[in-house]
């Protein structure tokens, strides 16, 4: 028996098949959850690291599609604040330690306490890693990687001058003065007195004993010790001439360029710039790494954490899978290999690819004595809008260290009022 198809039947079947085929990808797409991820990565190496992590995640979680969105660091707080206030939040966001308090206060982060407590990799992380992301007993994120503060120095210049890498502020200043040679266009140290320079001022003040957060939890600044610190730090420019005269406006780009182009002998930054420095200077020959020198009262070497957080509760399940994936050793090491950022996970940090590299030793040592930056609501604004301009005024001889510290103390009182 033969079946006859008339033209109308063929058209009907074709239409039906077309409709069915249109549904197939829609069903497949429906099974994949799409989330976006805001971050502040800037350099090529950071993007390469992120790309690697995303590839590993896509292989492990084909059901979740992550779209990364770069938000320039200086604009980050403005964008995230606007997103939180207007209800157009990203699904997940990278947040650095010093911004956590403000974001929690404005209700921008989702409480993840229960999920983190039940997380199978929670034991890989030291409790201290969660200190800055915990507010009032609630945990709001997972440490993605660590900013370990350390020092890069021109090994060849130090060897030439017969100097050892400094271990105290006094030795550091001495080396900076000795390695300064304006005739050769060389300065001992690349001071960050422009954008981002406030954290160095706060660290130096704490190094001299002027801690911001007291043992009883109160917030204050010891005037005399802070003055001594500001005087010493600014003295590197205005008394010793051991830093480039452009220091009052030098931000990240300028201090990096100065070191990489052979204009400064020492650079304080975190491990994240290791790969970028290695591209222009020969690691272990032209430059080496050391721990940040100890101050006269405290050794202040910061361990900052970039946390991955969930900012939109509606897609929390997919975002949770994404942010916890950063705690996997393979993801952490892949990111380190592209960027130099240290893993936050203790297990990942013990990986042979890290512990076997002597240039990483100062960073591994710093993990033992490093401390997190102070964190309280209003800290970021105070440090950026008050501490930095006040310190710059000393650098340009518009104010004395006493006047600058008084300005900082007044500003602090307003910030926490």
């Amino acid at each position: 028996m033969t079946t006859r198809f008339d033209r109308r039947s063929v058209l009907k079947m074709g239409g039906g098949l077309l409709a069915a085929s249109a549904l197939l990808p829609a069903r497949a797409m429906a099974q994949q959850t799409a989330i976006n991820y805001w971050h502040t990565f800037t350099s090529q190496s950071e993007f390469a690291g992120l790309e690697d992590v995303m590839k590993l995640f896509a292989a492990a979680h084909p059901d979740i599609a992550v779209t990364q969105e770069n938000i320039p660091n200086p604009e980050f707080m403005a964008k995230i604040t606007a997103a939180v206030v207007s209800g157009s939040r990203p699904d997940s966001t990278m947040v650095s330690s010093e911004r956590v308090a403000d974001l929690v206060a404005m209700g921008g982060l989702t409480d993840l306490t229960d999920r983190i407590a039940a997380w199978e990799r929670r034991g890989d992380f030291d409790d201290s890693r969660f200190a800055s992301i915990t507010k009032d007993g609630k945990v709001y994120g997972i440490p993605a990687f660590t900013f370990v503060d350390w020092m890069y120095y021109r090994k060849d210049w130090f060897d030439e001058a017969g100097l050892a890498p400094p271990t105290t502020y006094a030795e550091f200043r001495d080396a900076a003065i000795k390695l300064t040679d304006p005739a050769k266009g060389r300065f001992g140290f690349g001071m960050r007195g422009g954008a981002g320079g406030q954290s160095y001022v706060i660290n130096i003040m704490e190094g001299f004993g002027a801690k911001l957060i007291q043992d009883d939890g109160s917030i204050s600044l010891d005037r005399d010790k802070a003055i001594e610190a500001v005087d010493w730090w600014s003295g590197l420019l205005i008394k010793d001439g051991a830093v480039p005269p452009s220091a009052p406006n030098d931000g990240f780009r300028q201090i990096m360029e100065a070191f990489q182009t052979g204009q400064t002998a020492m650079l304080w930054h975190h491990t994240g710039s290791f790969q970028d420095n290695s591209k222009l200077l020969k690691a272990g020959v032209e430059f080496a790494t050391a721990a940040i020198p100890a101050g006269p009262v405290n050794r202040v070497s910061r361990l900052g954490y970039a946390y991955n957080t969930v900012t939109k509760p509606e897609t929390i399940d997919a975002s949770w899978e994404w942010i916890k994936f950063w705690g996997e050793p393979d993801a952490a090491v892949a990111f380190l290999e592209k960027t130099g950022y240290f893993p936050a996970s203790t297990v990942a940090a013990q990986d042979e690819r890290i512990s076997g590299n002597p240039l990483y030793k100062p960073a591994a040592d710093t993990l033992g004595f490093g401390i997190p930056a102070p964190s309280f609501a209003g800290f970021a604004g105070w440090s950026e809008s008050v501490v930095l301009p006040a310190f710059q005024r000393v650098l340009i001889k518009e104010a004395t260290p006493e006047q600058a510290v008084d300005e900082m103390i007044d500003g602090l009182a307003q910030a926490i009022a």
Partner: protein
């Protein structure tokens, strides 16, 4: 006898009465049509200009610190305005704003006028030159800012290199790190970026001036400067007034170039009101005080525009 026939339109059916096309057609012949046409733009302006402005104004009378929810968002009256009176940063910012806007406008106008007069001569290649001169204005502030930050860089900047080579500088200078040059350097960047705005408007104005006026002035023995002073500038008065007001509004309200070049530093030497308001809102999260700063800027701009129009006597023509 011829019977006069009057034809009446057929009576309206129910459909005719409710037909929207017919109703709109009838409305278009009344004086209410104008209001109907204005409704979409009025709604849009209300949504994106009037409502946010009023909201910002009422915010300035409230406690609005996003990182301090414990303080609430209660009414605080004139608290923020009173604080402004004793806030030294506000006064420094106000002074810097006046310097920034006045100097930048003067420089932009001067360069823009010279460029427009040159282009108006229709010399060979002037069309290509006109496009080239307009190029800086097409660049976004962010791009222009970063480009000039690199060109004026104390280590790698080409400007320093050139000035050293021609002997104007002994060594490389950190323009943005020195308070005596930071504002001036930023003004030069701003003038470079925005002078084409004046060029464009003045050139359009120049095209509209009848050439007979210049011929008559020539016969009367007026030289080029006298012609500029007595014919060109008076004839361009309205255009210049509009351009100045628009640029002042743009300069007072936009912190982006200074944000990139100096962030208001070193110290507070390039801190202007718009930058201060931006930092207060997005770094200190104090939207109440930032709102008050913005309201003051708004009032200053309104006052300036009113005074400028009155003083330049634009409306008298």
């Amino acid at each position: 006898m011829v019977e006069a026939r009057i034809s009446y339109p057929p009576p309206l059916t129910l459909w005719d009465r409710i037909n929207p096309v017919r109703m709109i057609g009838e409305l278009s012949e009344t004086r209410y049509w104008m209001y109907l046409l204005l409704i979409p733009s009025a709604l849009l302006i209300t949504a994106v200009v009037i409502y946010p402005t009023l909201y910002g104004m009422q915010m300035s009378f409230r406690e609005m610190r996003l990182n301090r929810p414990d303080l609430g968002t209660g009414w605080v009256g004139l608290k923020h305005y009173q604080r402004m009176l004793t806030d030294p940063i506000f006064w420094v910012s106000l002074r810097n704003t006046a310097v920034w806007v006045t100097s930048a406008i003067a420089l932009e106008f001067l360069i823009g006028l010279i460029a427009a007069l040159a282009l108006n001569r229709n010399l060979p290649g002037s069309k290509v030159l006109a496009v080239l001169i307009l190029l800086p204005y097409f660049l976004p502030n962010v791009v222009a800012g970063h480009m000039w930050a690199l060109m004026l860089d104390p280590r790698l900047g080409v400007i320093n290199d050139l000035l050293v080579k021609i002997g104007w500088l002994e060594g490389y200078k950190a323009w943005f790190a020195d308070p005596s040059t930071a504002m001036a350097a930023a003004i030069v960047v701003e003038a470079w970026h925005s002078f084409p705005f004046f060029t464009l408007l003045i050139l359009a104005g120049l095209k509209g001036i009848p050439s007979d006026l210049y011929k008559a002035a020539d016969i009367d023995g007026a030289g080029p400067f006298a012609q500029l002073r007595l014919i060109t500038l008076p004839m361009l008065k309205t255009i210049i007034a509009a351009a100045v007001i628009l640029r002042v509004i743009g300069l007072v309200n936009s912190p982006d170039l200074l944000l990139i070049l100096t962030s208001g530093g070193p110290g507070r030497s390039t801190q202007v009101l718009s930058l201060y308001a931006f930092q207060t809102a997005y770094k200190d999260f104090n939207f109440g005080y930032a709102g008050a700063l913005s309201v003051v800027m708004f009032i200053l701009l309104m006052g300036f525009a009113w005074a400028y129009v009155r003083l330049s006597k634009v409306n008298e023509d």
